[in-house]
Point group: C2
Chain length 413, copies 2
């Protein structure tokens, strides 16, 4: 697997662009993005599980039902959620406008929105600028970047990646962009992720590979415990790499070698985006990886790791570089998972080294200064051992800092 | 029902005291508390549901098994949790030390601890000062206050209340103290609550009344989502009011009029303490009450209200006095409760007035300035209407401020 440049434009046959249409008020930033494939694509998507779904989610669920897509249109600055019939009409209109402009069917377009909830989407701003949006399409990295900038809200860093792998002697590329910083929590929250690939792959294999990758990445990310109304991860595959079609179902014997390669590459793409999102959690100063090992099952390991990773007290302790492992055990204790506290070990790791702070559920003699040194780095790992089995799982989070309050205390103004 | 002074010493026959024994380092504050009844008491208690339980919780569960108590000994500055066999020995020793001093059985003493997790409890400090602790006992409000001060950690306000009611022509008193600010979450977290009453009441009625009161108060409180290893609420009843014994089981027809009066009074005591704890949440600037009405069931109403009350985004919006009702709907959406978003109404209320901001799941025209004025008060209420049924429930929370990070980023130093 090789990391390459180009983002969503790295795979053959994809174009992207972004412009400013004026939805984001008072900011001279892009707020309308487009990703487009000249050829027909197989597509798969995963959407928010929030009971309150944005209009864009409802319309996109309809449009992707047949597994075919050619375009993604996305705006930032307005979530178009809790906006009733007007919101549904506006989301459908977005799909129609871009479909007309690109001469595709409206059902071939996914619609995504992110921003403030409950404010009517100013669809006229999109209508007025729809030709300019099409005109912004480019097949190089500049197109990718313009689109990526147009989906960012409180994000402080760009989140994108592209990789290439070889399948049956053919180069297959996967490119991706994501936005999301606050409100990211299992499962899938205020996160938009658009993935392109030139792999030839059956629709069911694409769907299985996406769900597998999302479960092992975005669904193991927690920033502030809130899950949003607008999340989606979408993948489009146009087959232009001309590999033998990738075939497979997760967990079954029916898969070819291409599926394994593709799946691993897609998981890598999603995990890297997940780590970028955790690092860019609102106000975050640190990327926290919580790794639970020695678990009886994957489910239990995930439950325990997420509980520790979500705890406000663990997150503030990490912010303060305080080796307060008692908070880790306490968070495990209210996770709902059954485990033996007297067998638990806890350690901390970073580029500065590794230290064990708890063994068999009790403190061990350790140097507080050494622990503080390790926890002061920008990427830290909390290592939890259960001594019950062989399952090992990582989840990602970030610390909770003053700036989280600053960003969210007055987000709308 | 009349509010009276005296705290846990208000009911006849109870004494309390508190001293400094040196467990809290570097602070000239009380850290060892005692509550004592000269007569035998019926007793009931509710403990943390955290899988990781402090030694004090495990020992107290043993001691209260027979429903009899005469004393509570509590320390702050050390949680005696995750401390293994040494911790269990220390908790048992605390019970023995105070039992010897008071000439009661060790099983008649409840042991409580609060403070940092994972550090061995310096039991020698308690041993050395156990006579002084007994000597500090007083039957007036000063004794109550000395004990209350000794259980406070990051609390910035004292939490206590006493009431009197009339049962069968006799005056019956209930007095209570509580500590807790951070880590308070359903169910029952880093919260200590000690309640005394001179009511004559059967052990089973006392147990039912306590569980009912706790479910309608402390278990509807959320500060930071963490639940602790050390929580307990304990009530002792010595019968000195000489009322006809209170008899009753919650939810059954078998109860006398005294039960209803006692139950309502105990619920009031616990709700008032809950509101004090919410207002004193770590770094909190506001008390938030979330009231869900029009629900199909009490369970659903609680689930929805707690989800909104726990959301970091809702809490920071309240801190910023930002009428961001979309975050309220979003939090309801991921609560797991089934409801129709298109029927939801949201409003805000405080001493400055009331304003509706969402109707039928959509925004209504409202004045942002007026909403900000209402949300700027120290006590605010989020009103959620479901239009599905007749159940109405309130839960309590507080906002999330810069000071939460400050307090918890370096709690141990």
């Amino acid at each position: 697997m090789k990391t390459i440049t180009g983002g969503v434009c790295a795979p053959k046959g994809f174009m992207a662009g972004g412009i400013r249409c004026g939805i984001k008020q008072g900011l001279q930033k892009n707020d309308l993005a487009l990703i487009y494939s000249k050829e027909f694509c197989s597509a798969a998507a995963v959407f928010t599980e929030n009971k309150v779904k944005a209009a864009s989610v409802l319309v996109s669920q309809e449009n992707i039902a047949n597994g075919k897509l050619r375009a993604v249109i996305a705006n930032s600055g307005n979530a178009n959620a809790c906006t009733g019939k007007h919101g549904m009409d506006a989301a459908r209109r977005m799909a129609h406008l871009i479909a007309d402009e690109l001469s595709i069917a409206p059902s071939e377009a996914v619609v995504a929105s992110t921003g403030v909830i409950g404010v009517p989407l100013p669809i006229e701003a999109i209508e007025k600028n729809i030709s300019a949006l099409k005109a912004s399409l480019r097949s190089d990295e500049a197109g990718h970047t313009a689109a990526l900038e147009a989906i960012m809200t409180t994000d402080t860093r760009k989140k994108d990646i592209a990789v290439e792998v070889e399948i049956d002697g053919k180069i297959v590329r996967i490119g991706a962009m994501a936005k999301g910083s606050g409100m990211i929590h299992p499962n899938m929250a205020t996160m938009l992720c658009f993935i392109t690939t030139d792999a030839a792959i059956t629709p069911s294999a694409l769907d299985c590979a996406l769900r597998y990758a999302v479960n092992h990445s975005f669904n193991r990310l927690t920033v502030d415990g809130d899950t949003s109304t607008n999340d989606m991860a979408v993948i489009m595959a146009n087959g232009e790499a001309e590999n033998n079609p990738v075939i497979g179902y997760q967990g079954s014997g029916i898969k070819n070698r291409g599926y394994e390669i593709f799946c691993r590459a897609l998981e890598h793409v999603c995990v890297e985006l997940t780590r970028m999102m955790a690092r860019d959690g609102e106000g975050a100063t640190k990327l926290i990886t919580v790794t639970v090992s020695g678990a009886q099952s994957e489910e239990k390991a995930v439950l325990l790791a997420k509980s520790a990773a979500s705890s406000s007290l663990v997150k503030t302790a990490c912010f303060g570089a305080d080796a307060n492992w008692g908070r880790v055990l306490c968070a495990m204790g209210y996770s709902g998972a059954d485990f033996d506290p007297s067998k638990v070990s806890v350690g901390f790791r970073s580029s500065a080294g590794e230290i064990q702070v708890c063994s068999e559920g009790q403190t061990v003699n350790f140097s507080e200064e050494r622990a503080k040194e390790i926890l002061s780095r920008e990427e830290i790992e909390i290592l939890i051992g259960l001594s019950e089995g062989n399952y090992k799982v990582s989840v990602w989070s970030c610390d909770l800092s003053y700036d989280y309050i600053k960003i969210n205390g007055d987000y709308r103004s």
